[in-house]
């Protein structure tokens, strides 16, 4: 159930009240409340099965919550899913062109991908694919950025680069919601950590 709470203020970019979700007989999310202000970086942590991905997908409208209300302060959203299937016969450059406006060459150079820009995805390593997925989200001029396990397959240099980008986005006033099984990496940067627990 989705509606606009009467007390919603524009500064609140993500607001969820009492959202629940059940898959057949399994309850994955129960009466969960969440709030993120504009420009806030919220880290979402929790054990496997605590409902992190379901909650993120619910916010993004990819999964329907069974009950509760939620509201997003903007539709300018960028998303990095936990799992992603890349097109096989599409180059890195073409892929980014599908999501990023304007020139992508400089971005590829920054991330050490310039020489591979004409390569099809089937010829790229897992880490390079993950960089492409991050790039499409980081450079979309989105107001809300949602990351689900963004460090999959990234090396240390790329993790550092990603942290710098997050810092830049935060300074620009973007709202960031990130869930990760390596929360210590983001601890310094995040404003708040929300711990999710699997419903009983």
């Amino acid at each position: 159930m989705q509606s606009t709470p009467s007390s919603f203020r524009p500064m609140r970019m993500i607001e969820a009240r009492g959202v629940s979700k059940r898959y057949k007989s399994q309850v994955v999310l129960k009466d969960f409340d969440f709030l993120a202000e504009r420009g806030e970086f919220v880290l979402l942590v929790g054990a496997n099965g605590s409902g992190k991905t379901t909650f993120l997908k619910g916010l993004l409208g990819l999964v329907r919550f069974d009950s509760g209300t939620f509201l997003l302060g903007s539709r300018k959203i960028a998303y990095v899913p936990e799992k992603f299937a890349f097109p096989e016969f599409v180059s890195l450059e073409e892929f980014l062109g599908l999501f990023v406006e304007g020139e992508v060459e400089s971005l590829l150079e920054e991330w050490g991908l310039k020489e591979r820009r004409k390569k099809d995805f089937r010829k790229l390593s897992k880490g390079m694919r993950q960089k492409a997925l991050l790039l499409q989200a980081l450079h979309q001029d989105a107001e809300i950025l949602v990351f689900d396990e963004p460090l999959n397959g990234l090396d240390k240099v790329s993790v550092r680069k990603f942290l710098e980008e997050l810092k830049r986005l935060k300074a620009e006033g973007r709202t960031i919601l990130l869930c990760s099984h390596s929360p210590q990496i983001f601890k310094k940067l995040a404003d708040r950590t929300v711990v999710m627990e699997a419903p009983e």
């Binding site: 329907r64 959203i77 992603f84 097109p87 599908l98």
Partner: protein
Amino acid sequence: MRKVFRAHFAYLCNRTNLWILLFVLLLSLLGFTEAALTLAEELSSLKGLYYFENSFFLLKLLAPFTAIFTFAYAFLKERDQYGELFLVKEISRLWYFSSKVLALSLYLAFFLLLEFSLYLLSGAVLLRFVKPNLLAFLRLYLVSLYYGLLGLAFIQTVKNLLVLVIPYLLFIAGLIVNDSEGAFRLYYNLLFPNFLPERPELVAGRLNFPMLFLLALFNLFLYLEKDL
């Protein structure tokens, strides 16, 4: 919006689809050659008809199979993930789904155009003449589109590729049902369109158009309601 279409086609051109396309085209070529070369020389006046009937029968079996697989495979959860990157933005599920079904319909039209060209080319080379019969191919496109959407409805409901055996069996059963006449044949063909055994015309005729529209709507409803 152009970017969404580009993404649809980028994902449609995957190794699995291209192998299937190649396999079906090769099988068709073998079938067309067999149809052109089998008939004895003394019956050369019947060759044109024999060539069409045998070639078309083979295509009747291959085209719905290709459509069912292509439509369903495109909407398998992992093959449809790229949609999430569009759907989180201003693009609605309605637009995304409609554009993807349109892209699949164009892909299917391209496949049948290749088959039609191969049919004409084989006929021209091996028989020196060939009757185009374009209308029959257009009807085959309609039938294939219908079964493609039927396959899509099954995969959206059951989410397992094995379930695609059912729409194909329903199509094959239609070939048997249509050997007998009666009201049941018409009812069956309303739900599962197929050709008359004696000529390349649809049993239910134009009544299949509203059914095709309803099936597309049903698929849209499933897509709007489901969790991605």
